[in-house]
């Protein structure tokens, strides 16, 4: 019995940190309507800073907790810098840009952390005065866990007082509902936004700082925690602090007991709980339904069937690509194959995102599942390439069938967060299931069939499959199916009122997009001869978003241009040590300066010139 009590208390203790980070995210979202991807980075910085500060001070209770507090405050100040430099410029941008820009911050923080603290994991100190264990009926519970169990509800109570008993809190709650109106009543919105961001960042920093005696401090902390935090927020309900607390406790307990019952599949348990909650309450346990998210473009661009000029341009592009092998070297061919495969991947994302309005933050799941589907077939059952390339889209399509069933119940940022969580779960499975997937070592020896093993042949195979795939996706955009999907993006209310079953329509589109992404992934595995878990990592999902974004969401040619631009950029900066820093800065710069993407901005520029003439 006491064993279960201790296990329960351990669950509560690990919920504390999760709660701090999740409620910070939730509070920031409430007012700014931005899902701060960099929230995990604040958490990581909190841990590094606390460990560093505590190491410089004499050992003692005050210096320990003082360091934790100072670390949280410093993270809060860093949050203010991020808010002023980046977020302030994108409050009116579409949600996609906000998410991607904050991911740029993630990359920048990752490399800065690496530069300051180095690549090795660090171990934090034990908390003085709380370094032994409490005996509960023969079972030991670390004293520090007791402190954390108290910390969670204490912070919850303080936040409640802050929001309900101070004028600042009233203003924040008002701004959460209608920030523009608060401004029109004479309240300086900027100050509210900045102070809220400070509070949210502090909470994340505190969440990281209190973890230092419990887990090693590493450069992986940011993305690991953000996926879990997204799950907490989706379950608890965006914008609800109490919801975040409840959900954090649920997740904490699931982890604590899941390990006992099914040590291998705690993730699956998590998945099931999330499923149940979302089916019963699509907005999470305590979420509010009326939150509108992100700024939608005032007028969504119409799409037009390709005119003769566009058809000609596409024909020329195809002809050029078909002629390239005649004079290009191996290096360029390899690069072009990668561009083409990623273009198909990006086009599949564009199909659901540009046309369907579903911002997926986990599209790499399908790419990776396609790649692993093909690779596993080759490694474990000696399938030929042809069969593997049928299995790849099939496996990814099936994944779309499962993930999509959940995702279509949500919209906007909830959709984005849930899709990210699924991709992260898929990633964890391939990362941890060593016997089958080879874990971090990946699967090797995925070579094409004899006839396609030559660079030339493989190039043409890729060209034909990618061109066919992109054309099919484009055609579907103009079909009744694609129109119905776009109808749902434009007005869910009206779609429902004319008999469109939007969920089914979206679900089917995710399966289709997943299959095409999987096909690209399968080919990708053969082009590299190997596959690693990073094929479905968060950065790969963000690659897809950046490609669509570089090209412009509203243009059909965008994904192709975006893929070329991204690969070109990555190729150019990959020789630098801190390439993530550069990539992050470029991403932020694009989001801040060119919210219409390359193709979109060019189109606008042309339109503008025509108007002036």
């Amino acid at each position: 019995m006491s064993f279960f009590v201790v296990q329960f208390l351990t669950g509560l203790a690990s919920a504390a940190s999760l709660f701090l980070v999740a409620c910070g995210l939730s509070i920031i979202f409430g007012v700014t309507r931005i899902v701060n991807f960099a929230h995990g980075s604040f958490y990581m910085l909190g841990a590094y800073l606390a460990a560093t500060i505590v190491a410089t001070l004499p050992v003692g209770i005050f210096s320990y907790w003082g360091s934790v507090l100072v670390a949280a405050l410093v993270v809060g100040l860093i949050g203010i810098v991020v808010e002023i430099v980046v977020l302030r410029r994108i409050y009116h941008a579409p949600e996609l840009f906000q998410l991607v820009a904050t991911f740029g911050v993630v990359l920048v923080v990752q490399d800065l952390t690496l530069a300051i603290w180095g690549p090795a994991d660090k171990l934090g100190p034990l908390a003085p005065g709380l370094d032994s264990a409490v005996n509960i009926g023969g079972q030991l519970l670390p004293e520090y866990d007791v402190a954390l169990i108290i910390l969670g509800p204490a912070v919850l109570g303080l936040l409640w007082l802050l929001f309900h008993r101070t004028r600042w809190g009233t203003l924040v709650r008002a701004a959460t509902q209608d920030r523009e109106m608060v401004g029109a009543l004479g309240v300086n919105q900027r100050r509210i936004f900045t102070s809220v961001f400070f509070l949210g960042a502090c909470l994340a920093g505190l969440g990281g700082a209190v973890q230092i005696p419990r887990e090693p401090i590493s450069l992986m902390m940011d993305l690991n925690v953000i996926a879990e935090v997204f799950v907490v927020v989706v379950i608890g309900g965006m914008g609800s602090i109490l919801g975040a607390f409840l959900a954090a406790v649920i997740i904490g307990e699931l982890n604590a007991f899941g390990i006992l019952i099914f040590p291998e599949i705690t993730l699956v348990l998590l998945f099931l709980v999330m499923a149940v909650v979302l089916v019963i309450r699509p907005r999470g346990l305590l979420g509010k339904p009326e939150l509108t998210v992100g700024a939608q473009p005032a007028q969504i661009a119409a799409i037009h069937l390709p005119g003769p000029a566009t058809k000609l341009a596409m024909g020329v592009l195809f002809a050029v690509l078909a002629l390239v092998p005649l004079f290009a070297g191996d290096f360029l061919l390899v690069l072009l194959i990668e561009v083409m495969l990623l273009a198909l991947f990006a086009a599949s994302l564009h199909f659901i995102m540009g046309n369907g309005g579903m911002v997926s933050f986990g599209h790499a799941a399908y790419f990776g599942i396609g790649a692993y589907g093909a690779a596993l077939a080759v490694v474990h059952s000696d399938s030929p390439m042809e069969l593997a390339l049928v299995l790849a889209p099939t496996a990814a399509g099936l994944a779309g069938l499962v993930f999509g069933w959940f995702c279509v119940r949500l919209s906007g940022v909830y959709f984005a967060m849930l899709s990210l969580a699924f991709a992260q779960i898929a990633w964890s499975v391939v990362f941890q299931w060593y016997e089958v997937t080879g874990g971090d070592d990946g699967l090797l020896g995925i070579w094409p069939s004899e006839w396609a093993s030559d660079r030339f042949a493989f190039y043409y195979l890729s060209l034909i499959i990618v061109a066919g795939g992109v054309l099919m996706l484009r055609r579907m955009i103009f079909s009744p199916f694609g129109y119905a999907l776009r109808a749902g993006r434009d007005s869910p209310l009206r779609s429902d009122a004319i008999g469109i079953n939007l969920r089914h329509q979206q679900w089917a589109s995710i399966v289709i997009a997943g299959a095409f992404a999987g096909l690209a992934g399968g080919l990708y595995a053969f082009s590299k001869g190997s596959v690693f878990p990073d094929a479905m990592s968060i950065p790969r999902s963000v690659d897809a978003l950046v490609m669509v974004l570089l090209g412009g969401v509203d243009t059909l040619a965008g994904p192709l241009v975006g893929a070329a631009a991204l690969i070109g950029l990555e190729d150019a900066i990959s020789r630098f040590d801190y390439w993530r820093l550069i990539l992050g800065l470029v991403i932020i710069l694009i989001c801040v300066t060119a919210p219409n993407g390359i193709v979109g901005s060019l189109k606008l520029a042309f339109a503008g010139r025509r108007e002036r003439e």
């Binding site: 004028r167 009233t170 709650r173 209608d178 523009e180 109106m181 401004g183 029109a184 009543l185 004479g186």
Partner: protein, 233 residues
């Protein structure tokens, strides 16, 4: 007192206001009349700064306000009551009022919740009720009260009678008359000529973003041609 001139405003690419100008004297009620989509709300939003005018000037007692952020314009003494009410539904009546609170001003009457409850007796009975649990008419009262908490010198009422039952509209007209008696300067936009005639001293008519007519309410009542051309009842 409040003087706008040459305002141009855009929504995206669409050019909504073309050189709009109007002026409201101290203690006066000016009705901005026009059809839906004529540019009334955009004019109001340009004055409070929610829409940033591309050109033109907005002056309050000679001080230039155009281009400032909304909160600074509000602090300068312009109170804005939006058409859609935009009550904070999760906040109580008292909390809604506290959001509007601004320091007292020498030049205008100072409003307190107690004084507002005299003006709007039914709000007094629901101090702790959430904004979302009030009827449309009550919400309309609350938004006006909330804006008055900022002790404005000029108050902008955007279509105060829109979507209200006829009895509530009558009540609203009495409220505007009382505010005028308290010395407040009022700019209100209306489609409802009946309501405007009951409260306004002068009228300005806007059509397709251009000011077409300005005159006293009495002159407009006599000018059948102008009414027929721009308002059409």
């Amino acid at each position: 007192m409040l003087e706008a001139s040459g305002i141009d405003a855009f929504y995206g690419q669409a050019h909504i206001l073309h050189g709009v100008g109007l002026s409201v004297g101290r203690g006066e009620v000016l009705a901005l009349l026009g059809r839906n989509g004529a540019g009334k709300s955009t004019t109001m939003k340009s004055i409070i700064g929610l829409v940033r005018p591309a050109a033109g000037s907005v002056r309050l007692d000679g001080a230039e306000l155009a281009g400032l952020p909304p909160h600074e314009i509000a602090r300068a003494g312009i109170g804005y009551v939006p058409e859609e009410r935009r009550v904070f539904t999760e906040l109580t009546v008292m909390e809604n009022l506290s959001v509007g609170l601004q320091p007292a001003r020498d030049s205008t009457p100072t409003w307190t919740p107690e004084r507002l409850f005299e003006l709007f007796p039914n709000l007094a009975e629901m101090r702790d009720r959430q904004g979302g649990r009030m009827s449309g008419g009550e919400q309309q009262m609350l938004t006006i009260a909330r804006t008055l908490m900022g002790n404005p010198r000029v108050i902008l009422l955007d279509e105060p009678s829109e979507g209200l039952a006829p009895v509530i509209v009558d009540q609203m007209a009495r409220t505007v008359q009382e505010l005028k008696r308290d010395g407040l300067t009022v700019l209100l936009s209306e489609q409802n000529l009946h309501f405007a005639s009951a409260v306004a001293d002068r009228a300005t008519i806007i059509e397709k973003g251009i000011i077409r007519y300005s005159g006293t309410m009495a002159a407009l009542a006599a000018d059948e041609e102008a009414r027929a051309a721009y308002l059409t009842v």
